[in-house]
């Protein structure tokens, strides 16, 4: 197949769940001011291409696609400008969380994880009035993830659908992404993983079962389930209906007890906030608070 044909093939291909595609190193298409990591990415590609003598060209080529990208509210579409069919997001309604940790258990069972690998971790927090509340923390699926640009072997990537995934077959285990993540959402396989009786073949970042020893694993929003219309295990198994899986494109969110909401309306009406927005990561996980608590964040109305 010639290069032209291949390109044509690429353009005509229907949007597929891009978790199955080759990793894309930095994919931020959202319109916003120059952030630190974007600057670093541009600088790094500048350094790389300076070797072949075109610094200016690198900077232009780096910034041009994002300028041409469609101005969507929260699209994390790939830097090619193509819009994916879905933009996955999660809403966690803290008002109803009773801290039962059914989400953690379901996640660990489904992904065959060790007890300490709490991909969705339920933190016990204290509100300003001294009241205890519970806060589940999955991967935030940041639009500008801190973990992706630091990986030396490009094992972290962000899909066109806004999922941040790890290619565990490539991860060498430097753990610099664990250093970078402000949410401590990354977990390492310090010993042999829990054996899994049923294994996907070939292994893919969207369905990291079983885990690979000596590599980093994290919440994947159960990416392999999403294309078939199923919601993640944590959402399915939450008896309180705390966790909503949503799609920013179709503007719908669903929880495990059958509530279906209009995502944008749901977020606005309940004054949803995001965790640690000061870090500039632009998480795709929203929290609905009800205890007067703050989440170590500037209040950001979605």
């Amino acid at each position: 197949m010639s290069a032209d044909e291949q390109e044509q093939d690429e353009t005509h291909r229907a949007p597929v769940p891009s978790a199955h595609q080759q990793p894309v190193t930095v994919t931020t298409g959202k319109q916003r001011q120059l952030s630190r990591r974007r600057f670093l990415g541009a600088a790094a590609s500048g350094v790389g291409l300076a070797a072949v003598g075109s610094v200016g060209g690198a900077l232009i080529s780096r910034s041009a696609p994002s300028a041409a990208a469609p101005s969507h509210r929260d699209t994390g579409s790939a830097q090619t400008g193509a819009t994916a069919a879905h933009q996955w997001a999660m809403v966690i309604d803290l008002r109803y969380c009773n801290g039962c940790k059914a989400c953690t258990t379901a996640c660990e069972r489904y992904h065959y994880l060790h007890q300490d690998q709490t991909w969705i971790h339920v933190f016990t927090m204290q509100s300003e009035s001294g009241e205890q509340y519970y806060m589940p923390r999955p991967c935030m699926m940041c639009e500008d993830p801190a973990c992706v640009p630091v990986c030396p072997v490009s094992a972290n990537f962000r899909t066109a659908e806004g999922l941040v995934l790890v290619t565990q077959q490539r991860c060498v285990g430097t753990r610099i992404c664990m250093n970078a993540c402000p949410y401590q959402a990354r977990y390492f396989n310090w010993s042999a993983p829990v054996p899994a009786p049923r294994q996907p073949f070939p292994q893919e970042p969207a369905w990291p079962v079983p885990q690979v020893e000596g590599t980093v694993g994290k919440c994947v929003f159960c990416a392999a389930m999403l294309p078939s219309g199923r919601i993640p295990e944590c959402a399915s198994y939450c008896p309180m209906g705390v966790i909503y899986m949503g799609d920013l494109e179709s503007d719908i969110a669903v929880n495990g007890i059958g509530n279906v909401v209009t995502l944008s309306k749901f977020l606005t009406e309940n004054t949803a906030i995001r965790f640690k927005t000061t870090f500039g990561t632009h998480p795709r996980v929203w929290y609905i608070t009800g205890h007067g608590q703050t989440l170590d964040t500037d209040k950001e109305v979605a």
Partner: protein, 517 residues
């Protein structure tokens, strides 16, 4: 180099008449060196005369290295968790060791490159030892990447360009350290060429065993066609000068980039703009300390007292203490300024490091690595060779501990926590790194590999830079004959015992330390 240099030796030129050569048996070790010894003989003595302690020392150190190797096998089989790591202490001892061991290789750059560029002549007898130390410690430090990685068997991916992510500081580390290793090898080899040529002439007549024959061949090959002619020496001197200049920015870049791996995150305690400078000064400091220890050891073990004097150690000590003061200042700056930022993360980190769960290692560094070396140098009574070596030993230990204090507290700090309520009571608590026999064994084995490899290197290459010392001595001699003043005396001793060599080191501030052992 100046055009006044003259050829000092050639393959045809025999040893100077009237100078005794050392005994050639390979068993004698306890006998003192000959009463009158040239630098040529002394430099080759560790190669030709095997000390009695050599094989026992090599055996003991190899046993320690073997223990570390077996610990690494255990780690490979059971996972990185066996080294004491967990999700809330994801970086700890190996990362601190990586920084420490690459850091101590900086002594070679200081003594050899910086003092060479500044035309400091007294460093001449120390250069080979310092460069060998750098050559040995740098690969050992790099080797810590292997236990550090969770999947060390995928190490090849770092040299596989399609996988490279150029925005990753770890990749920059890899490039910087590899380049520096190459430069260190070149910087070790270039000044060695002339000495290998001289040594080959000497070995030519002493090919008594297969090992000697092999060594002779290796010397001949590595020395190339060097014959000490004026043009060759000029070319070599130019190359050495150029590499000396290139090595310094490379050394600075290595530790700067190492610090980027920590600093390029939002983690309190890692996100510090002071880190590159902080790391570079720490590396220079501990590097000079290691050179002091190695020079003192080599001087004693290989009987080089005639060429490396106690004053050399004191001089190195001054450099070490100056760097130590600089590092103390940077430490003070870092914690002072951070203690003013009262954000949850920063306040907790500063508190836990200085007064909380990490107070002991921090203040150990402060006393043993910060204050004591300076105190030792403040008083004339203690400002001598013994004091310097003591201080250097303390500095090496304290700087390793300091690296642990730099690496571990931020890595164990909880980032998801309740903004209210008692610290650590809710949300995520502080993590704990557990020292295990696996990680300790690997660390001790790597530390034991330094003297092991140094002993082997010193039995393979001339321990003193013969050609350079002779050249400096000749230059000084010429200066003495052409000028009436005695300002520029010989700076390097070429003879032990015979006559009373005048040394530039005789002047000045270090009077208390020239008593014999």
């Amino acid at each position: 180099m100046s055009s006044r240099v003259e050829p000092l030796h050639s393959p045809q030129q025999d040893w100077r008449p009237g100078i005794l050569e050392p005994v050639e048996e390979t068993t004698d070790s306890e006998a003192p060196p000959p009463a009158i010894e040239t630098v040529r003989s002394a430099a080759m003595r560790p190669i030709l005369v095997r000390p009695k302690w050599f094989w026992p020392a090599v055996g003991a150190l190899s046993a320690v290295v073997a223990l570390g190797f077996s610990a690494w096998i255990v780690q490979l089989r059971t996972g990185l968790g066996s080294a004491g790591y967990n999700n809330q202490a994801f970086w700890a001892i190996y990362e601190a060791n990586l920084v420490t061991f690459i850091g101590v290789s900086y002594g070679g750059a200081v003594v050899s490159a910086i003092l060479r560029i500044t035309k400091t002549t007294w460093r001449a007898p120390l250069t080979r030892i310092a460069e060998a130390t750098a050559l040995v410690t740098l690969p050992i430090g790099m080797l810590f990447i292997v236990p550090h990685l969770g999947s060390s068997w995928k190490l090849w991916e770092l040299i596989w360009p399609p996988y490279w992510n150029l925005s990753s500081p770890i990749l920059w580390d890899f490039f910087a350290v590899s380049t520096y290793l190459l430069a260190t090898c070149v910087f070790f080899y270039l000044p060695l060429i002339a000495d290998l040529s001289i040594g080959a002439d000497r070995l030519a007549r002493l090919q008594t065993s297969p090992g000697r024959k092999l060594l002779y061949r290796a010397y001949r090959v590595l020395a190339g066609n060097y014959n000490g002619s004026l043009s060759q020496r000029r070319l070599l001197a130019g190359a050495i000068g150029l590499v000396a200049i290139m090595v310094i920015p490379m050394a600075v870049s290595v530790h700067s980039v190492l610090s980027f791996a920590f600093a390029s995150s939002s983690r309190p305690g890692y996100l510090e703009t002071i880190f590159p400078v902080y790391f570079v000064v720490a590396a220079l400091y501990s590097g000079v300390a290691l050179v002091v220890v190695v020079v003192a050891g080599a001087r004693r073990l290989f009987h080089l007292e005639a060429f490396i004097e106690r004053r050399h150690l004191v001089r190195l000590g001054f450099i070490m203490v100056a760097l130590g003061a600089a590092y103390l200042y940077l430490t003070f700056t870092e914690y002072l300024i951070d203690s003013y930022s009262n954000t949850t993360g920063n306040a907790a980190w500063v508190y836990q490091t200085l007064l909380g769960r990490y107070w002991m290692p921090f203040w150990f560094y402060f006393v043993a690595g910060g204050l004591v070396p300076i105190l030792i140098f403040m008083f004339r009574r203690t400002r001598n060779a013994t004091g310097v070596v003591t201080a250097a030993g303390l500095v090496l230990a304290a700087m390793w501990v300091k690296r642990l204090v730099i690496v571990i507290p931020p890595a164990t700090e909880p980032l998801v926590r309740s903004p209210f309520g008692p610290t650590g009571a809710l949300g995520l608590g502080w993590g704990t790194y557990h020292f295990t026999w696996v990680s300790i064994s690997i660390t001790v084995a790597m530390a034991a590999a330094i003297p092991l490899l140094l002993l082997i290197v010193f039995r393979l290459v001339p321990i003193l830079p013969v050609a350079e010392m002779e050249e400096l001595a000749a230059a000084a001699e010429r200066a003495e004959t052409t000028t009436t003043t005695k300002a520029a005396g010989p700076v390097v001793r070429l003879h032990a015992g015979g006559g009373a060599p005048v040394s530039a080191l005789d002047h000045g501030e270090t009077q208390g330390d020239d008593d014999d052992e």
